[in-house]
């Protein structure tokens, strides 16, 4: 990659980053341009992923080698496109039903083994190893088991929540709150790590090597907002006079 391309890339990356951040000030055409570009680029990226990783090796190559079995999923897939022709849109059901059937058939064992049995197993297993555990580990294991039971009580709607049942389900709410709080905290930190990454890139692209891309684009944006603000103020004053 030549230096010119690197500089051009830096300008585009810095420009798009600043355009998207400009929404924090207010909605503006630069943000909308970047937003629509993101939509298009995202679709373009996934289009080429599907073409070069799925349709090429899994449809085109087998067909060239006379493996006609791939025609079945290809036809099922093509049936989905009939959604755009109202008269024959029912044909798309064939593709959708295949996806639903396969997905459902897969979801049952996956849900049973990973989300159901292994979660119950993970809760119960430590209780069978108490003899070799420290008092603190025993307390933690019992607390997890107690919390899981309370949360399950909270989600059990076949009985009205009152009396002792309500007390237990209320304790379950506290465990849920801790989980939601922890999940929220983790999400915030993940988003902030992305933010640091963007700031780091903007800092990198502000170097002389990249012809001060960040500073120039930022200055351009500030000038745009200032002129736009002044023109709007002039318009409002003219309207008020009229």
């Amino acid at each position: 990659m030549s230096e010119t391309w690197m500089i051009a890339g830096a300008w585009i990356a810095a420009g798009l980053t600043v355009f998207l951040f400009s929404f924090l000030y207010k909605d503006n055409p630069f943000f909308k341009i970047a937003e629509h570009l993101y939509l298009g680029a995202g679709m373009g990226w996934w289009f080429q992923v599907y073409v070069y990783n799925i349709l090429g090796p899994k449809v085109w190559t087998p067909l060239v080698n006379h493996d006609w079995m791939v025609l079945i999923p290809a036809i099922l897939g093509l049936s989905l496109v009939t959604q755009f022709v109202p008269k024959i849109s029912w044909v798309s059901r064939y593709g959708f039903t295949f996806l639903m059937g396969y997905g459902s058939g897969l979801a049952i064992p996956a849900g049973l083994s990973t989300d159901f049995i292994s979660q119950i197993g993970g809760t119960i297993r430590p209780l069978s190893m108490m003899a070799s555990m420290t008092p603190w580990a025993i307390f933690n294991s019992l607390l997890v088991a107690f919390g899981v039971i309370c949360v399950l009580f909270y989600f059990f709607f076949s009985v009205e929540h009152k009396g002792h049942f309500k007390k237990v389900s209320n304790i379950g709410v506290y465990f849920l709150m801790i989980y939601f709080g922890a999940a929220f905290g983790n999400t915030v930190m993940a988003r902030f790590s992305l933010l640091y990454g963007r700031f780091d890139d903007l800092y990198t692209f502000s170097a002389s090597k990249y012809l001060y891309a960040t500073q120039i684009i930022l200055a351009g944006m500030i000038i745009y907002f200032a002129i736009h603000g002044l023109m709007n103020r002039g318009k409002k004053q003219a309207e008020a006079v009229n």
């Binding site: 391309w5 680029a41 897969l106 159901f116 801790i178 929220f184």
Partner: protein
């Protein structure tokens, strides 16, 4: 017509659902091969499902441009963004790296798609914080517990938070990282397990309803 429009599609769901389910529990080469083939088929049909979405998006923006609707000029950028990724992909056969380093697709990915994607999610950081400021009003003990869990998680993951913790609560002997580890490993796990067990039961029941044709909303009307 009812046979073609309704009964055969329902039979397809039942056939593939039961076969996939059975294959998972049958340790035989035939079932393993069948699962591999089904996985390949699902990838192919999913690719066409993506094209369905792509055509729909293009049609909607084309419609906007042809009618010159409000903000139609922005719709042009959807096409520009799309071709900015697809044309380089065609030129370098979908490869991000070549013998001479980064390809044109790699360049488009690094300097266009990646900054756009990362910034879009980074902007959400501001909105999450502002939403938290507005919604984390501690009105009950439950809300306080939620706030404390989130606060400790955030505090413990930044150096400044660790310094504050050590200077204020250092005498307890427990570091903030140990407290976070305990929250994530004990009470949060209890809450998460309860939810996961509930989701699993819901997913299994819904899957059975789909396989046996009780749930058929995905087929649409008519």
């Amino acid at each position: 017509m009812k046979l073609i429009k309704k009964q055969i599609p329902l039979a397809i769901v039942f056939f593939f659902g039961v076969l996939t389910l059975a294959s998972y529990y049958v340790p035989h080469k035939v079932s393993v091969d069948f699962m591999e083939m089904m996985n390949k088929w699902e990838n192919i049909v999913s690719a066409f499902a993506f094209f369905l979405g792509l055509i729909s998006l293009f049609y909607s923006h084309y419609h906007k441009i042809s009618r010159k609707a409000d903000g139609w000029g922005y719709s042009l950028f959807v096409y520009i963004g799309f071709f900015a990724m697809v044309v380089p992909a065609i030129l370098c056969h979908g490869k991000l790296m070549g013998a001479a380093g980064q390809t044109a697709l790699g360049w488009s990915f690094s300097f266009m798609y990646n900054p756009l994607s990362a910034t879009m999610f980074a902007v959400l950081a501001f909105y999450i914080v502002s939403t938290a400021y507005r919604s984390f009003r501690i009105k009950s003990l439950q809300a306080f517990v939620l706030f404390m869990a989130a606060f400790l998680l955030i505090l413990g993951k930044v150096p400044l938070g660790q310094i504050i913790w050590d200077s204020v609560l250092g005498w307890t002997g427990a570091g903030v990282d140990q407290v976070i580890e305990w929250i994530m490993g004990v009470p949060a796990v209890a809450g998460k397990r309860g939810i996961m067990i509930g989701i699993a039961i819901g997913a299994i029941v819904t899957s059975f309803k789909i396989i046996f044709g009780i749930e058929r909303q995905y087929m649409g009307k008519d």
